[in-house]
Amino acid sequence: MSALAATVAGVALLVGYKPTPAGSASPSPTPPPRIAVSDDDAPVGAPAPARTPAPTSAPVAVAQSGGTKTVTGKTVDTIFGQVQVRVTIQGKRIVDVQPLQLPFDRARSAYISQVAGPMLRSEAIQAQSANIDVISGATYTSMAYGQSLQSALQNN
């Protein structure tokens, strides 16, 4: 740390690393990011189905059309409420992760759900495409999110 009196060296708008991937099951002009679902070298921030214990309950609802499959993860309880996600997979790629349930059970959860929905969603996808080992930030509900996601992938 320098001894500069001025402590704030930079102020900038947050800049994302990539344009928003087209996270949709329908055909898209921009290919979604390649994500190896079963890659042993997947970064830690990513779900790694092969290395984690199986969830205690099976996921539900696999729907398939053409080469696209959607898998719904199990519902996971958190201190804020229940979390459940649905994953859309094309071949070996995750192309979309959609939260089906996020907590609403407390007053502050209204805020959490409002803000955390898209944020949680970014974790599952960006963590892989950005090649991150680990993410720094609050993770209470994202743990449940990850568990639901894993249960979906394991039963893919």
């Binding site: 060296a9 950005a130 993410i135 993770t139």
Partner: protein, 250 residues
């Protein structure tokens, strides 16, 4: 070898990249230590030391051994943060804000003592790294973007580093300004990096409660840098923070 366990009420990940046959045993020892710490210091366990203190069955002034060390650390950082970090709410003792980082540090010491030199330990988003993720490659730690999907705000490149983030975006405005008793709302998240996870974690919590003055506080601390995101999704950082980061590509 990587393992994730729910312990101390949060997910804790330990990832060892040293390929050694005793890695599993080291992880067993690491999580056993975290369980021991939780049993001793959890405010949610009726038989913990902390609960006994609050029940009047144990006098902090007469605490000895490890509990005395923890109390001393709490007092030190309360003073070092102008009271923005405090383990006391009135008469109630809750060292959780310190114990989290301290537990990570204890876990890392177990790995160090066994000669592991390439690993990280992550407790609910507070991370201590050591060595390299792969030969010649630093660990890559994403700072969670508080709102935008598919994005991290920055990527911190780390060898031996502690990274702690306090934020309101997921747990709600959960950090109170101890001087007003009201939730701190001026920032969405504050990330602190530096050599010591106990310090980084306590500073992140305390400075977050300071709001916009957070960066001034961290900037005045040798060896520590910070990156803040405010509700307008503007990021502000201390002068040398950039040195830890992967350059941003548009």
């Amino acid at each position: 070898m990587r393992r994730v366990r729910d312990v101390m009420g949060m997910p804790v990940t330990a990832d060892l990249r040293d390929e050694r046959p005793d890695a599993a045993a080291a992880l067993d020892a690491l999580y056993a230590e975290l369980e021991r710490i939780d049993a001793a210091y959890s405010p949610f366990r009726g038989d913990s030391l902390v609960s006994r203190v609050n029940a009047g069955a144990l006098d902090l002034a007469r605490a000895d051994g490890e509990l005395a060390d923890v109390v001393a650390l709490c007092r030190r950082y309360e003073a070092a943060t102008d009271g923005y970090f405090s383990a006391w709410r009135g008469a109630r003792f809750d060292p959780s804000g310190l114990v989290k980082g301290w537990a990570i540090d204890r876990a890392c010491r177990i790995l160090d003592a066994r000669g592991f030199a390439r690993y990280f330990v992550d407790a609910a988003g507070d991370v201590r790294t050591r060595g390299e993720r792969a030969p010649g490659e630093p660990w890559r730690i994403g700072i969670r973007h508080p709102v935008e999907r598919d994005k991290v705000a920055r990527v911190v490149l780390a060898y031996d580093l502690a990274v702690a983030t306090s934020g309101t975006y997921e747990k709600g405005a959960h950090i109170d300004d101890p001087h007003t008793g009201r939730p701190a709302t001026e920032l969405l998240s504050l990330t602190v990096v530096g050599p010591d996870i106990v310090v980084a974690d306590v500073y992140a919590t305390a400075a977050f409660a300071m709001g916009r003055r957070a960066l001034d506080f961290i900037a005045a601390r040798d060896g520590y840098e910070a990156y803040a995101i405010d509700p307008d999704l503007r990021a502000t950082w201390t002068s040398a923070f950039e040195a830890y980061c992967e350059p941003v590509t548009a």
